[in-house]
Amino acid sequence: MELLLAITIGIVVATSVYLMLDRNALRFLFGLVLLSNAVNLIIFAGGRLTAGAPPLIPEGAYAPVDVVANALPQALVLTAIVIGFGLLAFTLALVYRTFMTLGTVNSDEMRIAEPRDKRQLDESRLGMGKADPEHPATGQEAGI
């Protein structure tokens, strides 16, 4: 069981790294989503796997009678899922807003905050860069 989980984690991490090497911010974000799920599995596996023994205490007792699953990693994973979900939802909204405003999510073209040369600097200050907020670029141009 541990081996299966380890292989799964490995595959998910490899996939997410592949996605995160992309210049497209949206793909990078999908990579992050996968990676955070892989990490949740790591925490889960770190607490050791106990099959079919939920950590429940029988009525009247003060401690579990038999060997039960470790409840703490489950609580940690739950917290991490909730936090991760919030952050990733925010990031998705941010990527969308960036695409609408800048017209691209290609990290090579996103040089507004750190312009390459003087001309670009002037453009960004006057707010007349390549992208037009009224007419955002199509998905094809941005490489989605």
Binding site: T98, A113, E114
Partner: protein
């Protein structure tokens, strides 16, 4: 149960909620000011308690130490909370003038208070997973502040900031999962004992490096700093200032905490790695600053270079080195936030932060010029300002171990720091304004002038006080370093037993 440990977390939370409810009226901002003043008071009370009684700890919900969440404050934690409150206070006052009503209605003050809560929580927690949670609280608030208003530059910088910081927290979480897997605990004091019983010490060192990478991204260590110069110059100045002052320092604090309390079983490897990283960080940061032509971007690169000094103090890992790191941490937060405030005023009256479009500040705003020189010289390490003592201690610690090269490099970096400061001086203050503007402070309305200059004057005064009367501060840093290197008191207080 010591309530003093809870106040620095609860007060900003309450302030955030109330100021959000009143965000549409002018009451919201004054609630934020009052809440931050209360935070400052609470932090000073906590400091008095820690000075009086040593390490204080509180078990949340009365779950005993290794099982529940512990809040604990030693001298380092307490002083960081005090400095957070001071920086928060300065920022809130500054934002009275700097932040537009539009941003206030979007909930600027609520986000700022949540940020303060996250930072205070990170400094006070005694549990590794809880530290992760505080990091996330801090991050989500900082994301909001960074892109609030949503102009093009902000979104561009924000994306890079958000993405790279998320990678770092995921790295941190992985480290936590693996560390829990091999030790079975996440309480920091308990971990100090547990890591010594781990069979496979090599695995532990691997996890230590994982934590180093995670905190290294937060602290903007070489080669993980690229998110910082990409984003710190884009938001409103008040936001830049508190980010520059506090956020990277939470990373440095976490490095100091983890690499003194938990991961000190293989100092020869981990701390040597930190030593090299810190030296390269120093050099790249200052070279980046020398190459920039924008007031705030120069300052952003300086943050990176200064982080190098703090981590160098930790990497040297002697009482003197750690003492330097603690002293540097406190000094740097004050000075850096102040420089960003000055940049903000320069932008306000001079119309830009681009050095090519600034000028005449020395002639028309001599007070501002004077107030720029204090933190600028302090940052470069001129006596008798606070930066001199901070650098002196770190360099002395390096010399004591006969690390001649390291000491020489850190002194040379100081020289380059003053070079990039003269660049700012030579372009923004000395010559006339290229567009013929006369940047006068007196052109600002009275209320704005007070709100903008008060934090700058206050922080500059603090720099001078630390510089002129360093004795109590140095002694404090020394006691704090002793506590960090011998965590017996911390562990006894948290776990309630002799280790």
């Amino acid at each position: 149960m010591n309530w003093l440990l809870v106040y620095p977390i609860v007060i900003p939370l309450m302030t955030a909620v109330v100021s959000y409810l009143f965000r549409n009226s002018r009451a919201g901002r004054w609630i934020s000011v009052a809440g931050t003043a209360a935070l400052l008071l609470a932090s000073l009370l906590l400091m008095a308690e820690v000075l009086d009684r040593g390490v204080v700890a509180a078990q949340m919900s009365n779950w005993e130490a290794p099982f529940g969440i512990t809040l604990a404050a030693d001298l380092l934690g307490a002083v960081m909370v005090v400095i957070t409150a001071i920086t928060g206070m300065a920022t809130v006052i500054y934002s009275l003038s700097d932040i537009s009503e539009r941003l206030e209605r979007m909930g600027f003050h609520a986000l700022l208070q949540i940020l303060l809560m996250g930072v205070c929580g990170a400094f006070l927690t005694g549990d590794l997973f809880n530290l992760y949670v505080w990091f996330e609280v801090m991050l989500i608030a900082s994301f909001g502040l960074l892109v609030l208003g949503g102009d093009r530059q902000q979104l561009d910088g924000g994306i890079k900031y958000v993405m790279l910081n998320l990678v770092s927290t995921i790295m941190f979480l992985t480290g936590i999962g693996l560390l829990y897997g091999i030790t079975g605990t996440l309480n920091m004091a308990d971990l100090h004992l547990a890591v010594r019983e781990v069979q496979n010490q090599g695995l532990l060192t691997t996890i230590a490096v994982m934590f180093m990478v995670a905190f290294g991204v937060k602290a903007a260590l070489f080669p993980l700093f690229f998110w910082l110069p990409a984003s710190y110059h884009t938001p409103p100045v008040a936001v830049s200032a508190i980010f520059a002052g506090l956020l990277t320092k939470v990373g440095v604090y976490s490095l100091i905490r983890c690499f003194t309390l938990i991961f000190n079983q293989d100092v020869g490897f981990t701390h040597t790695l930190l030593l090299w990283l810190s030296v390269i960080t120093m050099v790249t940061g200052v070279l980046g600053a020398a190459a920039m032509n924008d007031f705030r971007r120069i300052l952003s690169f300086h943050i990176i270079s200064q982080i190098g000094y703090m981590v160098l103090g930790l990497a040297i890992y002697t009482p003197l080195g750690l003492m330097g790191a603690v002293f540097y941490l406190v000094h740097h937060i004050i000075v850096k936030a102040n420089l960003f405030f000055v940049a903000g005023v320069a932008k306000r009256i001079g119309g830009s932060t681009d050095l090519a479009r600034l000028g005449g500040l020395y002639t028309h705003a001599p007070l501002l010029a004077f107030l720029f020189l204090i933190p600028a010289f302090s940052l470069a390490g001129f006596p008798p300002l606070s930066g001199f003592w901070a650098k002196y201690v770190v360099v002395k610690a390096a010399l004591d171990l006969e690390m001649w090269g390291v000491a020489a490099i850190s002194l040379a970096v100081g020289l380059l720091t003053i070079f990039s400061m003269t660049k700012i001086w030579g372009a923004a203050f000395w010559p006339d304004h290229p567009d013929g503007i006369k940047p006068r402070l007196s052109d600002l309305p009275m209320g704005d002038r007070v709100a903008l200059m008060l934090p700058i004057i206050g922080l500059a005064a603090l720099t001078c006080i630390i510089g002129l009367f360093p004795e109590p501060f140095v002694q404090f840093a020394e006691r704090s370093a002793t506590q960090l290197l011998d965590p017996t008191e911390y562990i006894t207080t948290v776990l309630g037993v002799q280790p």
